[in-house]
Amino acid sequence: MKPEWLDAFSLDDAGGPAAPLGREEAQALASKVVARALPSAGAASYLRHPRTAFLAAGLAGALALVGSVQALRSQEAPCVGATCAESAGASAPPLRVAPPGDGRTTTSAPPRADAPALEAVPIASLPDATANRAAPARRPPSAVETRTASDLLAEANRARRDRDWTRAAALYERVMQSQADESYAATVALASLRLEHLGDARGALVLYEQALAQRPGGALAAQAEAGAARCRRVLAADERARP
């Protein structure tokens, strides 16, 4: 007999398992992806030559201010396509993809007659998407002062990725204090961090409840509710374990 959960085990653009993403979060994430994939020549040159950046500090400060305003405007752009949290989709058509593996496996596997004709893209030949992680851009002091909440959120995410939980938590708190749109996502992220890595289920529960109160039915409500439930289970278990 086929288990019920196996029916839900499918892939489409809605219905999870990734937590729903609001339009602002989707726009911000897409902007980051495009910025990494298609960096502007001017920005790249500026970041690679910090000495010249200091020589142009005054101009850089002005540009950073303009850029910040533009970045904020871009985050307010309307939802495009199917990225809104409320979007729903049909089941994906049957898929056949090459399995994961290294370059050796990819190039040595014989083509199947029934496989769709796909362009061979060995992982070794793909651009290194993680390259930007290893070399964080150096900024002059004037740029630091003009960081937006979006910048701080990105920095917090980098710290979390690097498993620097304490620094990530401090940065998420700064985003929350900014009262910007990103504070909602930062609240949920900080709650998750406290629950999963900082051993602070009680503090995490407060944050999850704060996020739910801030945006009832918001894009991250399901994640916040699940997180709050986990916090309560952890706290209950702790309570039972007390002598």
Binding site: F9, D13, G16, V33, P99, R112, R233
Partner: protein, 187 residues
């Protein structure tokens, strides 16, 4: 739904893909937004929640940078899925090497009564998948999510068929023990 991703429409209008491949930022942004929901879901099936958003970004960056190599002789969706699977696999292996000596995080599979929705069920499945070794996880996802048979996975990976069957069998046994219900062995 009006906002549903329509990859078939993308393939019918290759001009948009070409524009994104040429570096048109607006086209790249629009394409990324359309790919984002499905890519996030696939990555979450393959990776832990804490890593999923970062890997999603990496996968989408790779897709954008690789657009010039795409030829419309096959499904664009399958091409994207293929890149996503490979980037995810590479990233997980890299993370695994880095965290080799770190203890595994405790995984809490939500109870069935927490939510009554597809999202909740899939979140439970993903949480259960989090407990599988990477080889078992990828075998299970490729078989049950992407529709590949055990022999096809074995042929593509270059691993013995019995190895793949074993990974599927053990992986599914583990999922059943966490998620409940009965089911026959995978084919």
């Amino acid at each position: 739904m009006a906002s549903r991703m329509d990859l078939a429409a993308l393939e019918r209008s290759p001009g948009r893909l070409e524009a994104a491949a040429r570096g048109d930022r607006a086209a790249a942004q629009e394409l990324t937004l359309e790919l984002l929901p499905r890519v996030r879901n696939l990555v979450r099936y393959l990776a832990r929640r804490g890593d999923a958003d970062d890997i999603t970004q990496d996968a989408l960056v790779t897709v954008l940078r690789s657009l010039s190599s795409y030829r419309p002789t096959g499904s664009f969706q399958a091409w994207v899925d293929r890149i996503v699977v490979r980037v995810t696999y590479a990233e997980i292996r890299r993370e695994r090497r880095r965290a080799r000596h770190e203890s595994a995080e405790a995984v809490d599979v939500p109870g069935p009564s927490d939510f009554a929705s597809t999202y909740a069920t899939r979140a439970r499945i993903a949480a259960a998948l989090d407990t599988l070794p990477i080889d078992q996880r990828f075998a299970v996802v490729l078989h049950h999510l992407l529709g590949m048979s055990a022999s096809e996975i074995a042929e593509e990976i270059g691993a013995p068929l019995e190895t793949i069957r074993s990974r599927l069998r053990v992986g599914m046994q583990h999922l059943r023990s966490l998620l409940g219900a009965t089911e026959g062995d995978p084919q």
